[in-house]
């Protein structure tokens, strides 16, 4: 949250607005989706949400997306979908209405967006008020020593809905889980492959076929070979990401080969 700017001084406001904009750019991860981001941007307009300028908001959002792109920040798809929609909305709001056009007017769309923002803000506010209530175990407390005086004991079996649903889920997906549970012996994990590859790559000065790195005893049985290939490939990707090796594949489905990265010291 950027600090609220001092209304007295334009200069301060300028700086903090800029800071807020920068914070936005850096902190895309902090947003719970495009609507949340729009709500945040709308606060810079400092008006009642019912009077928010959706046009200005659309422009702010679009410039945010541009800046993020310039900084090569990868935006999740839904942010881009929203950007496209806002660009469309902007054009609707700016151009005179086309009588041929069937769809809802720009004003209708803008009004709905304003409603969504207001509703989201209202729910935020409600959530905060809810969490601030007197809460059991924090503000109010139940009897610390419930009593059980009588000697009549009756066993009652119980289960929660979650138990029930999980039991059912477990049953219905038994087959999906099978490879994990039953066939453990034929699985090479990526960690194992990685542990194996790390000392080996020091020797890979020249391009070498990935398949030559499969561990002993894992090359013949198809199931084992498949698992070992997948794990080794994943391990090699990790190593490539860490800058330790280079990978090469001359065409689709061609063998993959690797070598130690030359700059590695």
């Amino acid at each position: 949250m950027p600090e609220t700017p001092d209304p007295q001084s334009n200069n301060v406001e300028d700086i903090s607005a800029r800071r807020a904009a920068e914070a936005l750019i850096v902190d895309v991860d902090g947003f719970e989706g495009p609507l949340d981001l729009l709500l945040m941007l709308s606060r810079t307009q400092k008006v009642d949400l019912r009077r928010v300028s959706v046009l200005a908001l659309a422009e702010q959002y679009l410039s945010f997306v541009d800046k993020a792109k310039a900084l090569r920040i990868e935006l999740a798809a839904d942010y881009l979908v929203m950007a496209a929609w806002l660009a469309f909305l902007k054009s609707r709001l700016l151009l005179p209405p086309d009588p041929e056009d069937e769809g809802p007017s720009g004003e209708d769309l803008a009004a709905h967006l304003a409603f969504q923002l207001e509703r989201l803000e209202a729910m935020r506010d409600a959530a905060a008020r809810l969490m601030a209530r007197d809460r059991l175990g924090r503000d109010v407390f139940s009897r610390g020593q419930p009593e059980t005086v009588g000697r009549v004991r009756r066993t009652q079996f119980t289960a929660s809905l979650l138990d029930l649903m999980q039991a059912y889920a477990r049953l219905r997906t038994k087959d999906e889980f099978r490879p994990f549970v039953m066939d453990r012996k034929a699985i090479l994990t990526m960690e194992e492959a990685l542990a194996r590859m790390r000392p080996l790559i020091g020797f890979a000065g020249d391009w070498t076929d990935l398949s030559s790195y499969l561990p002993e005893g894992w090359q013949v049985d198809p199931a084992k070979r498949r698992s070992a290939t997948a794990a080794t490939f994943a391990a090699v990707l990790e190593l490539a990401k860490a800058g330790k090796v280079e990978l090469r594949q001359t065409e689709t489905f061609a063998p993959i080969s690797l070598r130690k990265r030359s700059e590695e010291r």
Binding site: E32, G33, P34, L35, D36, L38, D78, G103, P104, D108, L109, A111, H112, F115, Q116, E118, R119, L120, A122, M123, R124, D125, A126, A127, R129, L130, M131, R133, D134, R135, L136, G137, R138, D139, V140, F141, S142, R143, G144, P146, E147, T148, V149, S160, L161, L162
Partner: protein, 219 residues
């Protein structure tokens, strides 16, 4: 406190025994509620107290007796429990239980369920403008703050979510009607399920406001 216990299941058995005097009934309700950490329903009180007792009346007396004390009688849905007075919380550091910290997404999802119930997952997502992440609903179910309600009678018959008595108990609410700001939100139209303008042709979904807090479903 409107249930009169007489008409619950005693028709068969014309009072062979006198019900205990109200003062005694009050003591009994007091003892039962004191002995339990969980809220006790009027129905259960009726079943446990001697034949012919009127726990609902006893509860009114009891509530008055504990007014302003360090411990109070609180109502949670159809049930009652003793709880410490909120202004005593500063003494309770030792009893305070660390509640699992809820994510912002979980808190908002919970609020949306409470204020819009019964509400489908798609509606929650529509309000938040973002998918409900895996595990959020799961976590709220596990905490027993929400439960599955009736399916919505719309295409796909999606399940709905509603809040539980445990939720009411945790947040010191007598009923979901007492949620803070509920009336204002409703008056401002912010609890309406207003479809986006594109969907003008779509069906109006048959959800009036009255749908929000249906309680005729104890069937």
């Amino acid at each position: 406190m409107s249930n009169t216990p007489q008409d619950v299941d005693n028709e068969l058995d014309p009072s062979l025994f006198e019900a205990p005097p109200m003062g005694e009934q009050e003591r009994m309700v007091e003892a039962v509620l004191f002995a339990s950490a969980e809220p006790v329903t009027i129905k259960e009180l009726t079943a446990r107290l001697p034949h012919g007792s009127e726990p609902a009346v006893a509860l009114v007396h009891l509530e008055k007796r504990y007014e302003g004390r360090g411990v109070r009688l609180t109502r949670i849905g159809d049930a009652f429990a003793f709880r410490t007075a909120p202004d005593m919380s500063f003494l309770m550091r030792r009893e305070t239980v660390e509640t699992r910290k809820l994510s912002r997404a979980a808190i908002e999802t919970l609020a949306i369920i409470a204020y819009h119930q019964p509400v489908t997952r798609a509606e929650i997502e529509e309000i938040r403008g973002v998918g409900v992440s895996r595990g959020t609903i799961d976590q709220l179910l596990e905490m027993e703050w929400i439960r599955i309600g009736r399916r919505r009678m719309t295409p796909g018959r999606p399940v709905t979510f509603v809040v539980t008595e445990g939720f009411l108990d945790h947040f010191s609410l007598e009923s979901a009607r007492d949620l803070p700001g509920l009336k204002e939100l409703r008056a401002a139209g912010l609890l309406d399920n207003r479809p986006p303008p594109e969907a003008q042709t779509a069906e109006p979904e048959g959800r009036s406001e009255g749908d929000l807090f249906e309680d005729g479903d104890e069937a």
